[in-house]
């Protein structure tokens, strides 16, 4: 599959930017978070592609780390959303601009 390297890479970058666009546009904090997970999916794909091309396991291990981190971030992030919801009854990002200027 080496010949497909650029395809994998392009797919990775595309996923990354789909995620980025979603993260910028959506209002629901959970969906924004999922979009960031899509970005991470793109990153994972990039790492795995490179781990293939460079014959080096660094990338594969990195992906495992990223997955673990994603799980941790999900836990902490959802706890924050939960807290926010309990306090205000909403997780709409456009409702929170107490801190500004």
């Amino acid at each position: 599959m080496i010949e497909h390297q650029s395809l994998f890479l392009a797919l990775a970058v595309t996923l990354f930017f789909i995620g980025a666009a979603g993260a910028v546009v959506r209002r629901n904090a959970i969906i924004v978070f999922m979009c960031i997970e899509i970005m991470l999916g793109g990153v994972n794909l990039a790492f795995l592609t490179f781990t293939r091309t460079t014959q080096n396991l660094d990338g594969a291990f990195m992906v495992m780390c990223i997955m673990a981190v994603a799980a941790v971030e999900a836990a902490v992030g959802l706890a924050i959303f939960f807290l926010l919801y309990r306090k205000t009854g909403s997780i709409d990002l456009e409702k929170f601009n107490l801190l500004k200027w």
Partner: protein, 171 residues
């Protein structure tokens, strides 16, 4: 040939499901699309002959993280998105920037392709072994010992943090 076709199909489906995550209004549906996207990405990993990573992708992402998220959505009763996607001017600017950055990055990546990336002359045997667990496990407990242990601390911190934030105070 067939494999290439299947790869294209998987790639296309991954993209489609990802886009659906970003545009679906219903939060639950969005999360379900996300699960699909994770599965399809795992399929793409398979084409790289990284079976173990594909399995991890399914188990951790689709299995753990997404269940977590869906559980949270249910708990917060957020099935319907609080509001429709309104493109404020900043958000439009964000989209425009993404639309610029995406081709720009692809263009940049195409320029004078990376050197190490081109050295990938992999023997078939190594290629097949590569995705196997023993090889990875071997380095995980030797070369990567320290980050591996640190990840365990990180998971602890995740637990402590989530508990500390979500629990109600005693007093």
């Amino acid at each position: 040939m067939l494999e290439s076709m299947l790869l294209y199909l998987a790639a296309a489906l991954t993209l489609v499901t990802s886009v659906m995550v970003a545009v679906t209004r219903n939060t639950v549906h969005s999360a379900l699309w996300m699960v699909a996207s994770c599965f399809l990405l795992a399929v793409v990993f398979l084409f790289l002959r990284l079976q173990f990573m594909a399995a991890l992708q399914v188990i951790i992402y689709a299995g753990a993280v997404m269940m977590f998220i869906i559980f949270a959505i249910m708990m917060l009763n957020l099935r319907v998105n609080p509001g429709r996607i309104q493109l404020r001017s900043t958000k439009t600017a964000g989209l425009v920037l993404v639309l610029f950055l995406f081709p720009a990055l692809l263009l940049l990546l195409g320029m004078g392709r990376g050197i190490a990336a081109l050295q990938g002359q992999v023997s078939l045997r190594a290629l097949e072994q590569f995705g196997e667990v023993p090889l990875l496990a071997n380095v995980m407990f030797s070369d990567y010992l320290l980050p591996f242990e640190l990840v365990s601390i990180l998971l602890t911190v995740g637990v402590i943090g989530a508990v500390a934030l979500a629990k109600k105070r005693k007093d």
